[in-house]
Every structure is written in structure tokens, then in C-alpha cells.
């Protein structure tokens, strides 16, 4: 056939990939949905989605969520996730660390990791202030928007980083574009210093602190961070950083992910 020049000729997607696309989509929607709706939203053939959804239902990876045909993530995923958590048991130590940090600083403490090529808050402990600053656990956020992002990609080469982060993620919430060169500089700097702090890009009133949690190979596999009102952040900078670093070094991490 002639139209071979662009290989965008609507390739067939693999069942496995579609399946995980469905799971990821439901995770982002945070609500049960109809197969039909899923198909149209993710741009997949309906017949394929129906078949996959049935397969996933059979495996308890999905479950019917209401008596009305809507499906959502299933129990099996919980069990598998729990098994992961048990093996790489960051939770327990992590919870302690966040507890300590939140108590000592009275600010909101977070434990963050990469989720694919996005940043996400895995665990959070809100601070003790009357007006607390918090964010959603499990949300996927563009890496360049976050302080932690500067540390989490520190083990990659410049080229790898640029290939890894979707280019549109350099557009900040206010519409401005962050120069990738500038970002790379900050990455190198942050990684070398073992810290990164800045006035948050995603709003106008918070200051963010991030320090790396490293594994045996000295690779940053997660971060501990603190979100504070700007003036308090500036006033307590050294104290906060020290608190974070102490907690981070106490978190012993095993294998290289």
C-alpha cells in the first residue's frame, strides 16, 4: 500500500497496553465509568474496550462499582499494591519521618516519587497550622512544576531528562514556559547540593523545600518535602532544611528501582 510514509496509519494497539491505559484512566478520573465512556474518552475502539473490561473484571482487576454497568479499579489491585508496599517497605519508616517533620516544623510534609514521567505525592502529613496547606495524594503533576522534580531526575543525563519529560510539561500553570536549559541547570545544582528550595510555581503563597532520599547507589529514589507559607519558609530556611535532611538520611532504602 502507498500510504506507508507516515506510520501513523492507526496501528493496532496491544491488549496489555490498552488494559493499563484503561486502569490509568480510571485512576485519573477517580470515579467509576461505563466501558462506552472509557472507550470514547481514551480514543479506543469500543469493541476492544468492552472485551478488555470483561477480561479485567474476570481477573478482579476491575469491579462493577454500582448496579449500573460502571466499573472501577478492583480489589486485586489493592492486594498487588499491598504486596509491593510490603516488599519495599517505605511506608512504615516514611510515616515516622513525616510525623517527625510535621511535628518539628508544624508545616505540611510530603513523601514524593516519580510515577512514570510525572511527579506524585505518595504520602503526606499535614502541618499543625490553623490554615493548613495540602495537596492531593496520588495526583500526577509535571516534573518541572515541583521542587522535588529537580532531584528526582538527577541520575539521568541531560538528553535523557529532555527525552523523559514531555515537552509540554515545561509550560507552567500560569502559561509561561520554563527554559529547559534553566531546568537542567537547576537539576544539576540541586542534585549536587542535595536540596532544592523555591517559591512554588503552582501558586503565589508557598515556599517549597525538597531533599533527596537516596538508595545504596546514591540515587535519588524519592524526596521528602516541606510546603510552607513564603515568609515562614524564608525565616526558618536552615532549620527546616536540617530537619528534612536528618529525616531523609534516616530513611534507609534498598534496591535500585
Amino acid at each position: 500500500m502507498e500510504a506507508a510514509e507516515t506510520n501513523l496509519t492507526a496501528k493496532r494497539a496491544r491488549g496489555l497496553d490498552r488494559a493499563f491505559e484503561i486502569l490509568e484512566f480510571l485512576r485519573n478520573q477517580k470515579n467509576p465509568m461505563r466501558p462506552n465512556e472509557i472507550a470514547s474518552q481514551i480514543g479506543a475502539p469500543r469493541s476492544s474496550v468492552y472485551e478488555l473490561v470483561n477480561l479485567l473484571l474476570r481477573n478482579q482487576i476491575l469491579e462493577f462499582a454500582d448496579g449500573d454497568g460502571r466499573v472501577y479499579l478492583g480489589r486485586k489491585l489493592y492486594f498487588l499494591g499491598a504486596a509491593y508496599e510490603k516488599q519495599f517497605d517505605f511506608t512504615r519508616e516514611c510515616e515516622n519521618a513525616l510525623e517527625t517533620i510535621a511535628r518539628e516544623t508544624r508545616e505540611t510534609a510530603q513523601f514524593c516519587m516519580l510515577d512514570g514521567n510525572k511527579y506524585t505525592v505518595v504520602r503526606m502529613k499535614e502541618g499543625a497550622r490553623p490554615f493548613r496547606i495540602s495537596s492531593d495524594v496520588g495526583q500526577s503533576v509535571p516534573i518541572p512544576w515541583t521542587a522535588s522534580g529537580r532531584l528526582l531526575v538527577g541520575h539521568m543525563s541531560d538528553q535523557e531528562i529532555l527525552d523523559f519529560i514531555p515537552s509540554q510539561d515545561f509550560q507552567l500553570p500560569n502559561g509561561e514556559w520554563l527554559d529547559p536549559k534553566e531546568f537542567l541547570r537547576e537539576v544539576r545544582d540541586a542534585t549536587q547540593q542535595g536540596e532544592f528550595t523555591f517559591d512554588s510555581i503552582v501558586d503565589s503563597f508557598t515556599h517549597c523545600f525538597a531533599v533527596p532520599v537516596v538508595n545504596a547507589e546514591h540515587r535519588c529514589v524519592a524526596t521528602l518535602c516541606l510546603v510552607s507559607p513564603r515568609e515562614d519558609g524564608l525565616a526558618n530556611r536552615e532549620k527546616y532544611l536540617q530537619c528534612l535532611k536528618k529525616a531523609a538520611s534516616a530513611l534507609g532504602f534498598p534496591a535500585p528501582p
Copy 2:
């Protein structure tokens, strides 16, 4: 072809099913394994397993666990599991319930559900005794071996139950066989009473209490149970049951799974 009489002619397995078979296998092994090893253990073609493992690695469903080719359940599963947990938020209430029960009784309290056609402990709070009785969270156990099992299948018909539970699961750990008829009687009785207690089948020194946690349709979707030394169980029977039932009725459950 002639050999059509048995359709055991080594059908091709579906990628998705094999994939989940791999995940489930790793979950049971509780340890990272080589693709090769996985293939031989689950009796799947090596080439298929290698291809699937690579696909799963790409999707972060699996991760390399040591620098040595071994793979284990990945971070994405944790995130998906967390999303499930958030939607059907049994965890928070559940933790409270277990806490209360364990405090009031000083015995080990558990929150249990079905995992496919097995019984599993989802959450546990150990009691306050000098010698505590506990069991592994996340282990799959034959339904007939447990007190909770009598309640968890209560919504099915006799025939459905017998089809659902693998027949060899009626063989108890000591080798004896439990008569399915007897089991069905106990199921009906337990479901009607809203409780089941017995001297545990899996050991010689514990007594188990189980009460149902029901959803809006009055279907048992989980159980709360208590594991105590036999004499204490007998001595405190009414008190323990009342404590469990109070906690169970406080656990409000939403949709039908």
C-alpha cells in the same frame, strides 16, 4: 484433526491472563524472580514470559528489583491499589474499628475479605498480650479453613458455593476432609445468626470469632474477626461477640462488589 475430544490440546493463553498470572505468582512468592524462573514455575513458554515481562516493565507494573535481572511487582501497582483504597475507603474506618476491638479485648483483631476464591486477611491489629497470636496479612487461605469463610460466601446458593470453592480446599491442614454438606449448613447458620465461632481448624490452641460487615444490600462484603486462646475465647464469648458486632455495624459500606 482427530485429537479434538480433549480440548486440552495446549490452547494458546491470552497475554493479559498470562500477565496477571505472573503478577499473582510474584505476589505469592513474595520475592523478586528471574523471568526464566517464572516461566518454568508457572509452566508458560519462556519466550512469551520474556515478552510480557518486558511489556510490564515498560508500564512500571513490574520493576527490576536487584541489579541482577530479577523482577518484582512495581510502583504502578502501588498507585493503582492506593486509588482503589481511596475510592472504597475501608482503610480509615477499618483501622479505627480494629484499634477499638484490639484495645477492648486485648486479642488480635482482623479485617478479612475474599481474594478471588480464597480468604485473606486485609488488615490486622495484634492484641496486647505478652504472647500475641497473629497471622500473615495478604496470605491466601482456603475458605473452609476459616470462621470468616462461613460468612463471606453467604450470599451464594449452595451450588454456587460448591462451584466457587476449589474442591481440594475442603481438605483441612491436618489432612482430614470437611464434608461440603456440613460446611453449607454452617454457612447458612452463620449467615442467619450474623456470627460464627469455632475452635480454629488450622491449629490447636485458638478460638476464632467472625462477624459480617455488610453493605447496603445486606450482603457480607468483609468480616471482622478475633483470634484468641481457646479458654479466653470461651470465657469471654458474649463480650467479644458484642464488641465485634458493634464495630461491624459502625462500618458503613457502600456499593456491591
